[in-house]
Structure formats: structure tokens, C-alpha cells
């Protein structure tokens, strides 16, 4: 139905695509797999008309086509659901679905007809809310469904989904899969990008693996994980979670001690310790208050009661600078919104935290800053054209390395990582885990919030589980199993049914 032949695309300094062959049949889910920077995003941007290929051609039902823009893609029935949704939060669901194509009557928008037309689409994607509901009232999963409904309203025959599961909870992923399967059975061809290998056999038919802008293999979805990983990174990863558990013997003194931390309606009586040389994982459902606690500990947001101590010294609340001076660092979950200076260079981003210390009487030691940034970029193996490259043009994994790197330069003693590997490819993930190991080996401590259960279990020395704003329990590495964590996370005392926890976008 849709086929690319020898697609090539060159950006200044980077060969993004180098002769990629890819094809999609009617009624199949074709998984596109690859590390960040492998060319997945570029390929789907070519298919959706954002980029023009420099070489090769795109065939639609056997005849060559030129997809010069979003209109061409729409005419060919190709719809793309990007990681960042194209929705207007203040407008209703129906208006978002028919944005720019609102049915009109005497020149006015025919609201009734619009909502009537939207209703069956919403039913198809399983959205309960009425078509007149403003999109801002929906959670992330709901918004995603509205995007899918919008694609369906355009009568899309090809649906491209860029990491749709990255922001969803487990139950939402199940619902998404059910809808994707139904669409497949209706004959829609689906290009599905994911970093979660376990999703592939559950959903996919075929898998195309990209590496360094080339398609390195096309395999059935039943292919074993290890083989897929080998294709992606070009080598086999011995250990996905290379945590060298230190054990109680080598556990140092407590570096971070939080007690009785509360903020009305958000988190209550949160207390825990993180010791030198230790990785403490924080698991829990989206909306359990993990990010909020991390931000309060770091002094970004206020708290009403409780104490935060670093190395025995109590921190004043709501003071990021004091927290930093004490040796705390925070890598926020929203990389683009809160972690990165997108217009800034790699060097500027790496030097952000150390800027003050590199200043004497207001003057910045620019050459020292640059040298330090260069060393750190090397140590992190940031894939870049140079220190002057704009951070927004890096791939997600490399952006994350830069955001973590700025804290490593600051000699942070307790680093709080909030979803450190979200949207990060397998290879970069392992590199980030190794950084965590290095930090703890040097006697620093890491508090790692993650919704990726295998990651929490694989990397933590202890696991804290949060539920409804409270610490529901603490598990040692031996006792922490998926079942044990989930049992605590879902909580037996939850109002209503424990398993249908309301999800809402969190953190900000």
C-alpha cells in the first residue's frame, strides 16, 4: 500500500536516512524499531510530508507520489500522531477533530452537526467524554484517542504512531492496543514506533529495524528480544540493567533524609532515606505524587509540613539554590519543557548548573566552562557535530545525556532522576544506567523515579512504592517483584476500584 525505495535524507552534518526501504500493507501493524537518532523520526516525517527526501522515492499503491506537505499526506490518507499532540486544549473535542473543516451553515459553524458527527468516532476509539468536552479536561490517554479519532475522521488508510505508549500507563496501553487491533482489522495500515520491546509480539506483524539511517533488517514480530536488541545496537547487550548491587555492607551514611513531607491534596507524610552509594527507585502509578515529591524535595515547589535534610543539614523549603548548594540535583521528567535550553548549544546546556561557580565577580570563565563541557560530552559519548550544535537538534537520548551531564559537572551528591529513560533508546539507556553505577560507586546517591517497572526493579537497591500521595511501602531488591510493586501501587484502600485509578497529567 505504501512503500519507500532507497530513501535518503541529509541534514547539515548528518546523514539521517541512507537508502531506506520500507513498506506497509493494508491491515497490518508494522513496528519501526531503532535507537534514538537511527532515523525513525526522519522517516515518518518524510511519509507525513514534513521533510522531502533527497533521493529515492515514495510509492503509494504502486505509483510514485510526492508528499510535499500535510495536505498531500491527508489526500493520500496518511495520518500521523506525533508524540506532542496537535490539539487546542481550550476547544472542545469535536472542534479539535474537525479543526479547520468545521461543518458550516449559513457561514456559521454548525456546532450540532459537528458534535453529532464526532460522537460515533469517539465511540470507535472508546472515549467516554462527550464531544462538547474541552480537551484540557482529558488526560494524556484521552487526548491521544482524540488524535486517533481525528485521523479516522479524515478517513486515514495509513496511521503513523510515534511512540504512543511512552506516556501511557499499563491499563491505558491495553486500551490503546485494543483500538489499534480493531483498526488493523478494519484494513488500516499502522506504522508503530516504540521502544518497549515487549509490546512488539503483543501487537505487531512485522518489524523493521533502523540503525544509523539504514534499514538493517525486516523480521517477524515474534523475533526474540535479544535478536531485536542486537539488530538495533549492532552488538548484543550483555546486561540490560547493569546494576552492581552494593548490598547492605557497603551502604554508606544517609545522604538524603526526608520526613513527614506533606502538601494538602498532593502528598502526605512522605518519609524516606537515601544512603551514599545507593540507588533508591520510586515506583507508582502516574499521578501517585512521585514527581510532586521530587520537586518539593528539590525546592521547586512549596510543602506545608515536613523536613528535608541533606547530609544531616536541614534545607530551607522552596529554595532550589540552597538545595543545589547542599548537593542535590534534579533531572526533570519533562526534558524539553524543563530540562533543556533548546536554542542553546551543547556547551551552554552542559555549563548551566556550573555557571555560577565558574563565575568570579560576575565574569564567566568561558574557556574553562567549554573545556569542562567538552570532557563531559566525551565521557557521556554525546553524539553531536560539535559543542556548538543546538541542543534541540540532538536526538532524545543525547539530549537526556546532556541534561544529566550538567549535574555530573556540578559534583552532585544526591541526584534525583525523574523518568530518566523515557523516550530514550536501548543503547542510550544502558549508558545512562552505567552513569548511575559510576555515581554510586563514587559514593553519591541516586533517587530514581520511573514508570518503567523492569527498570526500577533492575536498577534499584531499594524500591519505594507511592500510591495516592503516600509511600505505600518499601521493598528490598530481593523482595521487589512486579507483582509486589503493583500490589502496593494499586493500593487496597483506594477509593472505588483499585485497578481503575484515575490518571491525570502530572508534574505541572
Amino acid at each position: 500500500m505504501l512503500r519507500t525505495e532507497q530513501i535518503g535524507k541529509v541534514f547539515p552534518g548528518v546523514v539521517a536516512l541512507d537508502g531506506v526501504d520500507f513498506d506497509l500493507c493494508q491491515g497490518e501493524v508494522h513496528v519501526l524499531l531503532g535507537e534514538n537518532g537511527a532515523g525513525k523520526s526522519t522517516l515518518i516525517k518524510v511519509l507525513s510530508g514534513v521533510h522531502q527526501p533527497d533521493s529515492g522515492r515514495v510509492l503509494h499503491r504502486g505509483s510514485p507520489v510526492r508528499i510535499g506537505g500535510a495536505e498531500d499526506a491527508e489526500r493520500l490518507g496518511i495520518a500521523t500522531i506525533h508524540q506532542e499532540f496537535n490539539l487546542v486544549p481550550e476547544l472542545s473535542i469535536a472542534e479539535n477533530i474537525f479543526l479547520g473543516r468545521q461543518p458550516r451553515r449559513f457561514g456559521f459553524v454548525d456546532r450540532k452537526r459537528m458534535e453529532r458527527d464526532a460522537a460515533p468516532l469517539l465511540q470507535r476509539v472508546g472515549v467516554q467524554a462527550g464531544p462538547e468536552t474541552p480537551v484540557r479536561e482529558l488526560g494524556i490517554a484521552g487526548r491521544q484517542m482524540v488524535e486517533i479519532a481525528k485521523a479516522l475522521s479524515l478517513d486515514a488508510k495509513v496511521l503513523i504512531m510515534d511512540e504512543p505508549t511512552a506516556v501511557l500507563t499499563a491499563s491505558e496501553v491495553d486500551r490503546l492496543f485494543a483500538i489499534v487491533r480493531r483498526l488493523r482489522n478494519e484494513g488500516v495500515g499502522i506504522v508503530f514506533i516504540t521502544h518497549h520491546l515487549e509490546e512488539i509480539p503483543a501487537l505487531g506483524d512485522r518489524v523493521t529495524v533502523l540503525r544509523d539511517g539504514r534499514s538493517v533488517g525486516q523480521v517477524p514480530a515474534s523475533t526474540h528480544h535479544d535478536e531485536l536488541v542486537r539488530l538495533m545496537v549492532g552488538r548484543s547487550i550483555e546486561q540490560q540493567y547493569p546494576r552492581q548491587t552494593s548490598g547492605d555492607a557497603s551502604r554508606g551514611k544517609p545522604l538524603l533524609r526526608v520526613a513527614g513531607l506533606s502538601r494538602g491534596g498532593v502528598f502526605h507524610d512522605v518519609g524516606f532515606e537515601v544512603h551514599a552509594g545507593e540507588v533508591v527507585g520510586v515506583a507508582g502509578l502516574v499521578g501517585a505524587g512521585r514527581t510532586e515529591v521530587a520537586r518539593a524535595v528539590f525546592g521547586v515547589d512549596r510543602y506545608e509540613a515536613g523536613t528535608v535534610e541533606v547530609d544531616g543539614r536541614r534545607l530551607p523549603g522552596f529554595d532550589v539554590t540552597a538545595a543545589m548548594a547542599a548537593g542535590l540535583g534534579l533531572v526533570p521528567e519533562d526534558r524539553k519543557g524543563q530540562g533543556l535550553l533548546p536554542e542553546g548549544s551543547v556547551a551552554d546546556n552542559l555549563g548551566l548548573v556550573t555557571l555560577r561557580n565558574a563565575s568570579r565577580g560576575g565574569w564567566v570563565d568561558r574557556s574553562g566552562q567549554r573545556a569542562a563541557a567538552g570532557e563531559m560530552a566525551n565521557r557521556l559519548a554525546v553524539r553531536m557535530a560539535g559543542l556548538d550544535q543546538q541542543a534541540r537538534t540532538l536526538s532524545g537520548g543525547n539530549q537526556q545525556k546532556v541534561v544529566i551531564g550538567k549535574w555530573l559537572l556540578a559534583e552532585t551528591r544526591v541526584l534525583i532522576l525523574d523518568e530518566p529513560t523515557r523516550g530514550v533508546d536501548v543503547g542510550a539507556k544502558v549508558e545512562i544506567y552505567q552513569l548511575v553505577n559510576e555515581l554510586t560507586a563514587q559514593g553519591h546517591a541516586v533517587l530514581m523515579i520511573s514508570s518503567d517497572l523492569p527498570e526500577v526493579l533492575g536498577m534499584s537497591d531499594r524500591v519505594l512504592v507511592m500510591s495516592q500521595g503516600r509511600i505505600a511501602g518499601e521493598l528490598s531488591a530481593e523482595d521487589a517483584t512486579q507483582d509486589a510493586v503493583m500490589a502496593l501501587a494499586v493500593g487496597t484502600s483506594a477509593p472505588g476500584q483499585g485497578t481503575t485509578t484515575e490518571d491525570f497529567p502530572h508534574g505541572h
Binding site: 524543563q338 536554542e343 542553546g344
Partner: protein
Amino acid sequence: MATEMQPGSRMAAKHTGGSGGPPPWVRRVLLDNGALSALVVMVVLMAILSGDFFSTQNLLNVGVQAAVTAILAFGVTFVIVSGGIDLSVGSVAAFSAITLGWLATEGVPTFLAVVLALAAGMACGFVNGMLIAYGKLPPFVATLAMLSIARGLALVVSQGSPILLPDSISWLGQTLGEWLPVPVIVMVVIGVVTAVVLQRTYSGRVMYAIGGNEEAARLSGIRVKRQKLVIYTLAGLFAAVAGIVLASRLASAQPQAASGYELDAIAAVVIGGASLAGGVGKASGTLIGALILAVLRNGLNLLDVSAFWQQVVIGAVIALAVLLDTLRRRT
């Protein structure tokens, strides 16, 4: 973000040297900088169209005409790089000049009067910063209020009439050694100061960080509110300098002076390649932007174009310059 910046004076020297048979490095510099190429094209065009344009005397005139806008614009560059906007600089310039005139006629020693006039400008900027950083007013609103307040204060202090400046001050508007205008010197010095602040100082680097991503800056331990105070106070200080230079040129402080100059200043910054979204901008660009506006006004005067049409042309050039820059960046 710009990583290397040339002090303004060097940039200015480059374009005059590049008008005949450009060597490769000149071409590269021009291609890298849309506004600079526009300026070169304009200078060449004016030199061809009008025999009087390309004389030392006239070029220095252009410099003098650009000076006040450029000095205002350097201050606004800090604000725009940090993602804000300052509409009050024209009024603050007038208020500072009136303060100077009033103090000088009251018998305050010249040096002290100048210092206090600068302090008046800084105070206005400081109030802007307080309203924005701690009052959480949008910069547009806070500085719009200051635009009215400072202008009003200038009228109150002067009782609505111009104040003659003593000679001890008005030499600032004259020339050194018969030919070098002091306003041009002040412009170059302030330009270099701006470049150094943006590139070399903590506050300067922080401006790019705040403009690029305020939340990321905050989470990296930068005291964003305090830095915003610094930024708007600097803009107020530069506005005061511009006001003093303007008043010296006219040998009198006028309460209605520099009306609408804030828009010229913003135009100069934007023509110079800064983004109103913040995080991007250079001192050299701002200087070029101010020179483009001055070259246009001067050249169109020499060509006897009516003042009414001049406004049309200048508006068109602002749009065109930024349009070209946007196109160049996209490809």
C-alpha cells in the same frame, strides 16, 4: 544561540571594507548574517544613488543618528534575549534627561547630576523588574505602565517645557577633535559593553538561559527573579544613557523627547536577528539593526523622499529584513 560575537566596532569596519571585490571570508560573514548583508546592500545602493552619502562627514552623521536608537536597543537586547519586552525605554530616556536638566539648573555639580540621572533610569528599570519578577505582571503590561509613568514624571518635573543644558553637559552631543562625534563614541563603547555582558558575564549567560527555557533555568539553580531585576535595571540604565546623549545633542532636555523610540529600539533588535521568543540575539546584530534604520532615514533624506513615504519604506524594510532572516534560517 550565538557562540562567538564580534564587538560592534569590528563588524562596522567589515562592511565598509567589503564593498569592492569581496574576498571569501567577507562572503561567508555576509551569508551568515542576513542583516549585515542588507546593510551592505543599502550602503552600496545609497552611495550609488546619492553622491553625498558616502562621505566621511555623512557617514558620521549616520552614526550620530543611529546612536540614540542603538544605545536604547542595546538595553532592550538584554530584555529580548531573556524572553521579555521593554516598551518604556523611550519614556525612561526622556525622564532621565529631564532629571539631568533639572538637577543641573538647580546647581548640582555636573558629575553628580549625571550619576543621579543614570540612577533615575535604573530606578525605572528596577520598578519594571519588580513588577515583572515579583508582581508576576507580563513584561508587556508592566513596561506599558512605565511608558506612561516615566513620561508623566518627565512632564511633571519639567512642567512641560524644555530645560536648557549647561555647556558642561552638552559637549556630550558635540565632536571630539573637530570631527569625531561623542554620541558615536558612546554608542561604540556601550555596544562593546553589551557584547561583553552578553558573552562573558554570569548575568549575560543567564539571560540566554532564561529566554531559552525559563523553567530549565530555574531548575538549574538560577535565581530567575533576581536576574530579571538585573536585566530590566540594565535596560533602564542604558535608556538613561541614551536620554542624556539625546538631550546633549539638542543642548536641551525635552519632556516629549524620544517618543516612540522604544519601537525603533525593538525594531533594531529584531532586525539584528534576535527572537522575540527569547534565547537568541547579539550585540552586533542590534548595532547593525540600528545602523540599517539610520542609513535608511539618512539616505532617503538625501534623496529627497518625503517624510511620509519614508515611514512606509522603513516599515517595509523591517518586515523584509526579518523575513529574509527567517527564510535563511529555515534552509
